[in-house]
C-alpha cells in the first residue's frame, strides 16, 4: 500500500518537474515551429545563473524568480535574435535544428570551460518533511508539485482565456491565416520564447535544488526525458506534454518499484515507443506537416 502510494506520489513529483520544462518546450515548438535543441543547455545555464547570482539562495521562490528571469532572457536571445536571424535568411527546419544544437554545445561547453567539469552543489538546508501514509515528501518536492500545478493552470488560462493566448494558438495552427487576422507572428513568437524560457528556468532551478548538485551537462541529460514527454503527449500541445510527463513519471516509478530500478528508464522509453506505434503523432496532436517556419 505504501509502495503504491509512493509510486503515485513520486511519480507525480517526477512528472511535475518534467512537465514544467516539457510544457515550455512544446509550447515554443508549437507556436514557432522551431525545434529548439538548445533547451537543455538553457536549462543548465539557468541553474548556473541562479547559483551564481543569488549565491545559491535557499529561498526556493527567489531562486525560481531568478531562474525564470534568466531563462526568459536567454531564450529570447537565442530563439528570437539568433534563430530569428537564420530564419530571415531562409534557413530550413533541419538547418535551424542544427543551429540550436550548435548553440546548445556552445553553452554547455562554455559553462564547462568557465566552471570546469566539477559538479556544483546546493548545501542541504534541512528541509521540512511531511509524512503521507508512510511516504515521506520533502517541502522542496511538495513545492515543485505545487509550482507545476500552478504553472500548468497558468498556461491553460493563458492559452484558453486570453487574447494573447488565442493569438499563440492561432499562430501555432496556421501562421498565414493568423497574419490575416492581424496577429503579428514576430511578436507572438517573441513572447512565446519568453514564456518558454521562463518555464525552462523554473524547471532548471527546481531540478538543480531537487537533485542537490549539478554540472554543465545536467540540462542536456534531463532534456532527453523532457522531450520524450513532449513527444509522447503530441509535440506542440501543452496539455499533451502534461499527460506525457505524468505517464513517464508514474511508469518509471512503477518500474523501479515493481521490476527493478535499473529498468525505470527502459520502461519509460518502451511506453513512449508503444504509444508512438499506436499514435505516431502523440497522444493529443494532429499531424501538422508542411507547417511554415515563423520568421
Amino acid at each position: 500500500m505504501t509502495l503504491l502510494l509512493g509510486i503515485v506520489i513520486f511519480g507525480v513529483y517526477s512528472a511535475a518537474l518534467l512537465a514544467i520544462g516539457a510544457v515550455g518546450f512544446t509550447l515554443q515548438f508549437g507556436v514557432t515551429n522551431v525545434l529548439n535543441l538548445a533547451f537543455g543547455s538553457i536549462l543548465t545555464a539557468c541553474i548556473f545563473a541562479e547559483y551564481g547570482l543569488t549565491g545559491h539562495s535557499t529561498n526556493l521562490w527567489i531562486a525560481m524568480a531568478v531562474g525564470a528571469a534568466s531563462g526568459a532572457v536567454l531564450s529570447l536571445l537565442i530563439g528570437h535574435v539568433v534563430v530569428g536571424a537564420f530564419l530571415r535568411r531562409g534557413a530550413t527546419g533541419f538547418g535551424i535544428a542544427m543551429v540550436t544544437i550548435a548553440i546548445s554545445l556552445m553553452v554547455q561547453f562554455g559553462l564547462e570551460a568557465i566552471q570546469g567539469p566539477d559538479i556544483l552543489s546546493y548545501s542541504a538546508g534541512s528541509q521540512a518533511t511531511m509524512n503521507i501514509g508512510g511516504v515521506v515528501l520533502s517541502s522542496g518536492q511538495l513545492t515543485t508539485i505545487i509550482v507545476a500545478v500552478l504553472a500548468m493552470a497558468a498556461v491553460q488560462v493563458l492559452l484558453r482565456m486570453t487574447k494573447f493566448g488565442l493569438a499563440m494558438r492561432a499562430t501555432a495552427a496556421d501562421v498565414s491565416l493568423a497574419r490575416t487576422c492581424a496577429v503579428s507572428p514576430a511578436r507572438t513568437r517573441a513572447v512565446t520564447w519568453l514564456i518558454s524560457g521562463a518555464l525552462c528556468g523554473i524547471c532548471g532551478v527546481l531540478l538543480g535544488i531537487g537533485e542537490g548538485s549539478f554540472s554543465a551537462s545536467t540540462g542536456s541529460d534531463f532534456f532527453i526525458t523532457l522531450a520524450a514527454a513532449a513527444v509522447l503527449g503530441g509535440i506542440g500541445k501543452p496539455a499533451g506534454a502534461m499527460i506525457g510527463a505524468l505517464i513517464i513519471g508514474i511508469v518509471s516509478q512503477a518500474a523501479a518499484a515493481v521490476i527493478a530500478p535499473s529498468y525505470k528508464t527502459i520502461a519509460a522509453w518502451v511506453i513512449l515507443i508503444a504509444v508512438l506505434v499506436l499514435r505516431p503523432q502523440g497522444i493529443l496532436a494532429e499531424f501538422a506537416a508542411d507547417r511554415e517556419l515563423v520568421a
Binding site: T2, I9, S121, A257
Partner: protein, 438 residues
C-alpha cells in the same frame, strides 16, 4: 565518461582530478609519446641515463591518471638520483601517452619498446588495456609494475608483470570483510549504480557475504541520473537493512543519499573507492550535510600511509621535484601517485640487489627485495642495507608488498573518513582472504 566500464579503477578519483587535467592534459599532449624529462639532479658525464616509462593516458578523459603515474615516477627518480642512482646510472621518467584506448595503446607500446634503448622499466595503471599491452612488454623483457585492475591478471602468467594492487573484483570482497569485521552488522543493502564500474563490486560483495555469514537483505541496481529515487529508497528501507553499501556517480549519489535522509535512514553507509573524489563529497554533503557524512559514511579504499619515514621521504621528494609536479600538496595523499613511486623505487632496488641494470637479470629481484630480513622504507635505506650485505624487505608508502605466485599483491585496505581521508579502521589481508573464502 568514467562510467564506461573497463576503466573501473580510473573512475575512482578521476572526477576529483579532472580540473587539473584540463590545463595539464593539453601541455602534455604536445609532448606526449617522446618527451623525456630528467628527474632531479642530472649527472654530467656519467654512464647512460636509464629510462622508466610512465605508460598511461595523458590525453582524453583519463589524463589525470597519466599525471599521477608521472608524478609518482618523477618523485621516486628524484630520490633515487639524489641518493646516487644505481651503479653510476641516473634515471629519468618518460611520458608515453596511450590515450586510454587499446587502438592507441598497442602502437604506443611498440613504438616505445623499439625506440628506447635505455628503457629498464614501466609503471602503468591501465585498467582495460592490460591484455593488449602486457604481452608486448613481456616479449621485450621489460618489467612492468602495474596499478591496473583488470581481473584477468588475478591469475597472471607473464613473468615480467608485477602488480601491487588487487584486481577490481577484490574490492567487493573488501566491502563484505569490512561489514563483517569492521561493523558487526549482518543485514546489508547493496545499492549500486547500474554502470559497469559500480556493478563490478556486486559479485565480490555477494560472494563475500556468503562466506562470512552475512545477509544481503536487498540488492538494487540504480538507474543513473534520475530526478528522484524515492521509490527505490522505500523499497530498500522496507527490507530493514542495518548497513547500506554503495557506489554510484556523484549526481546519482546526491539524489539517492538525499532520498535516504528524507526517508529517515540514520544507519551507516559504506562506499567503495568509486565514491572517491571531490564531486562525490560535494554531492553527498549537499544531500545529507557534512556532519552526517563524516559520522555515518566510510569509504573502503586501498590504504595509503600518511605518516612514517616512507611517507615523509615520498612527500619531500614530491615537493623537491619542482616544476615537474604540478600540485604536490594534493598529490601527497593520492594512492595513484604513491603506487608508481613505490614501483619505481622497487625497480631501482631490484637493480641494486641484482648488481645489474639488465632487466633479464634483475626482474626476479623485484620479488626478492620484498622478502628480505631488513625492512627498509626508502631507496637510500635500501641502498645502504644492500651495500652492507643485507637482504631487504621494502615497505614503501603503499605498505607491505607480498607477491603471490601470480605476481599479485593485494595490499592493505582501510575504511577512511570521507572528509578527513584518515583511516578509521584497517581491513587486513586476512579479513579479505576470509571473504574470498580461502
Amino acid at each position: 565518461m568514467s562510467r564506461g566500464g573497463h576503466r573501473a579503477r580510473w573512475s575512482a578519483a578521476h572526477g576529483a582530478r579532472l580540473a587539473l587535467a584540463g590545463g595539464l592534459g593539453l601541455t602534455l599532449a604536445a609532448c606526449a609519446g617522446s618527451a623525456a624529462t630528467g628527474g632531479g639532479a642530472s649527472p654530467a658525464g656519467a654512464s647512460a641515463t636509464l629510462e622508466i616509462a610512465a605508460f598511461s593516458p595523458f590525453t582524453g578523459p583519463n589524463a589525470p591518471y597519466g599525471y599521477f603515474q608521472y608524478t609518482g615516477c618523477v618523485a621516486a627518480v628524484h630520490a633515487i638520483n639524489a641518493a646516487g642512482g644505481v651503479t653510476g646510472h641516473h634515471f629519468t621518467c618518460t611520458i608515453v601517452d596511450n590515450r586510454g584506448e587499446p587502438a592507441d595503446a598497442v602502437p604506443a607500446a611498440n613504438n616505445m619498446v623499439a625506440s628506447s634503448p635505455h628503457l629498464v622499466g614501466i609503471v602503468d595503471g591501465d585498467s582495460g588495456l592490460m591484455s593488449a599491452t602486457v604481452p608486448l612488454f613481456n616479449q621485450a623483457h621489460i618489467p612492468d609494475l602495474s596499478a591496473g585492475g583488470d581481473v584477468q591478471f588475478d591469475k597472471n602468467i607473464y613473468p615480467y608483470f608485477w602488480r601491487t594492487t588487487p584486481g577490481d573484483d577484490v574490492a567487493g570482497y573488501t566491502l563484505a570483510a569490512y561489514v563483517k569485521f569492521g561493523t558487526g552488522f549482518t543485514r546489508i543493502a547493496a545499492v549500486f549504480g547500474n554502470d559497469q564500474a559500480a556493478q563490478g563490486n556486486v559479485p565480490g560483495l555477494v560472494s563475500g557475504a556468503r562466506h562470512l555469514g552475512l545477509h544481503i537483505a536487498v540488492s538494487e541496481s540504480i538507474a543513473l541520473d534520475q530526478t528522484t529515487y524515492a521509490t527505490e529508497v522505500q523499497k530498500i528501507l522496507a527490507a530493514h537493512p542495518q548497513v547500506i553499501v554503495t557506489e554510484s556517480d556523484p549526481q546519482t549519489a546526491g539524489v539517492l543519499l538525499g532520498g535516504l535522509k528524507q526517508a529517515g535512514w540514520t544507519g551507516p553507509i559504506v562506499g567503495t573507492s568509486g565514491t572517491l573524489g571531490i564531486d562525490y563529497d560535494k554531492a553527498a554533503i549537499a544531500a545529507i550535510g557534512k556532519a552526517a557524512y563524516e559520522a555515518r559514511f566510510v569509504r573502503i579504499i586501498q590504504y595509503a600511509q600518511q605518516s612514517g619515514l616512507a611517507w615523509q621521504t615520498w612527500k619531500s621528494a614530491l615537493f623537491a621535484a619542482g616544476s615537474l609536479v604540478k600540485d604536490p600538496a594534493s598529490d601527497e595523499t593520492a594512492i595513484y601517485a604513491e603506487l608508481p613511486y613505490d614501483h619505481t623505487t622497487m625497480l631501482a632496488l631490484a637493480m641494486l640487489a641484482a648488481h645489474s641494470t639488465n632487466p633479464v637479470t634483475f626482474n626476479p629481484y623485484i620479488e626478492k627485495i620484498t622478502q628480505g630480513r631488513t625492512v627498509v622504507h626508502t631507496f637510500a635505506q635500501g641502498k645502504a642495507a644492500l651495500a652492507a650485505g643485507k637482504t631487504i624487505d621494502y615497505v614503501g608508502v603503499t605498505g607491505q608488498v607480498s607477491f603471490d605466485k601470480y605476481h599479485n599483491s593485494a595490499g592493505l585496505w582501510a575504511a577512511e573518513n570521507p572528509v578527513t581521508n584518515l583511516p578509521e579502521k584497517l581491513v587486513s589481508a586476512r579479513d579479505v582472504t576470509a571473504a574470498e573464502g580461502h
